[in-house]
Amino acid sequence: MTSLGGTYWCHQCTRTVIPRNRDELTCPSCNDGFLEEIDNPEGGESNEFMGLGGMHDAFGFAGGDVDLGERADAPGGVSAGFRRYQPESRGMPFPGRSGHPAVLQLLEAMSAVLQQIQPTQGGQEPGEVDLGGGGIRARGQGGIVEDGTGGFNSMLMLQGQMQNFLGGGGNVEVFFDNGTGIPRRLPGNFGDYFLGPGLDQLIQQLAENDPNRHGAPPASKSAVEAMPTIQISQEHLGTDAAQCAVCKDEFELGASVRQMPCRHMYHADCILPWLAQHNSCPVCRYEMPTDDQEYNQSRASGQSNPTPTASTYPMTTNPGMDGGGRDGGGTSGGFTFWGSQGLERQPSVETSSGGSRDLGSSAPTRSGSGAQASSGSAAAAPASGGGIARRISLHLPWFRAATSPAPAPAPPESSGTGGGGNRNQGSGNRNNGGDEHMEPHPELD
């Protein structure tokens, strides 16, 4: 769809490009399809479908209760998955930490937001994500998606109110446009729209290319370099310290090992690769300094939070929505589609985050405030949303390929970095990347 003739960012070439062909949005130099629209002067066109009436229509919600999981099977329902990312869980290296189910909470708040903003449509500055430029087809579950025009030249539009995400609220809307400008509900199972080998690979890449996606951020180089090198002496031997906890080899007398500030010792070859990924001591989880400012801040603020306690969330409460915002946790928002493939993308959002990463501890401490939290943050979000308008179009040609006989093109090698692109811009931004990849699933209990 849309924004033809616009300028795109090619994640493969990492530069701006103007696609040669309007029908198939590929990079003219690498022929890759992983393009992100960076400027769309014709925004109005897409915004048409964002009319709030349309939103309601597209979602079919009028009430405050949304459960997409269930809706997935409801006739005519939108069986899409939406969720807001947990602001960041990486900073929680200790076991038993807390979190909360996000999906249902997001949905609840989302519908609340929709209700809230209905009278004040003009106040919204939506960010938008378009997926699938021109050709989303479905397969699976017996078939091709019906389509009024026979071509199903559809578009998936995700509108994320980034300011809400950033502020701790959040919502994402999904539309299909069949070219008429009228948003339509998704027939069948939303997840099935994303079937396709290419997509599989994309997801695989996004997930696999990023070994750092879990846990704490890397230790800062300077801190690592500052770790003393120690010679194993007779007194080390025969103690607990005599073994490298990573490779499980006994240290040899006279061997040179690196000692962390917590005094745990490892072979350099064993500890350095770990610290390049995570800042914690493998044995005691002592945390080295990191260059990740956001992480540091959140840690600092996290420490002032009450200790996480075990908690149980009824599915209907909504602690998730306040996870970021209330903590001062402007964190990166995210979009997730979790269909059967769990495709998700997080656009590179510029978070003007005030910073604290939710350490996860925040959520449970507020567990009681579920219902109130959802309406509270939902109400607050649009009001405070002065902020970020952002639209991104992802044109993924293999959506189309999913039904065509031709094999889907392999996803670009850089898709991983595309998805986690922010990470590559330096550790300061790493959070966005860190957030982006991880998938659904809240664990409930």
Binding site: S89, M92, G191, H214, G215, A245, W274, S311, G342, E443
Partner: protein, 162 residues
């Protein structure tokens, strides 16, 4: 189903990983964790482990099987650990065998071993007070169709009681 595949690209273990696993296996044979039995296979990269429910717990007398797949860069990355069919009924264990346990994901540390993982899992089982699936089991499992690895899931850990 859950015991196979997960669509993961099998990458050969690195030398470091192979060394370490060999060591763990040897150690296991000398000193296996109580309640577990390593089922001998010819693969160092995939372990199948029998789990015996501990006495005086809800799972007493039951037997389960864990499948442990090691990544190329183990132990820098956590192994993938899932229950094979049929997984125990437990609030943190999904019917596709995925286990919600932080040390398998975000809280992994290279100092951990298969043995320590097993002990954690048995402890998780033993402290359970109710035999039930997680409330979002259906939803989660539906979204894991096509064999998604639990390592690709973004887990939220919030319950340190069980």
């Amino acid at each position: 189903m859950s015991s196979s595949g997960y669509g993961q690209k099998e990458k050969v273990l690195s030398r470091i990983a192979a060394n370490r696993l060999q060591k763990e296996l040897t150690e296991w044979q000398v000193n296996p964790p109580c309640g577990f039995r390593h089922r001998v296979t010819d693969s160092l990269q995939r372990w199948i482990i029998e789990v015996h429910g501990a006495p005086n717990t809800l799972y007493e007398g039951e037997e389960f099987h864990l499948q442990v797949d090691f990544p190329e860069h183990y132990p820098m990355e956590a192994p993938q650990v899932v229950f094979m069919q049929i997984p125990p009924l437990h609030p943190h264990i999904y019917s596709n065998g995925h286990i919600c346990l932080d040390i398998l994901y975000d809280s992994w540390s290279p100092a951990m071993t298969v043995s320590s993982i097993c002990i954690s899992i048995l402890s998780m089982l033993s402290s359970s007070t109710v035999k039930a699936r997680p409330p979002d089991d259906d939803q989660y499992v539906r979204n894991c169709r096509n064999g998604r690895s639990p390592k690709e899931t973004r887990w939220w850990f919030h319950d340190d009681k069980v």
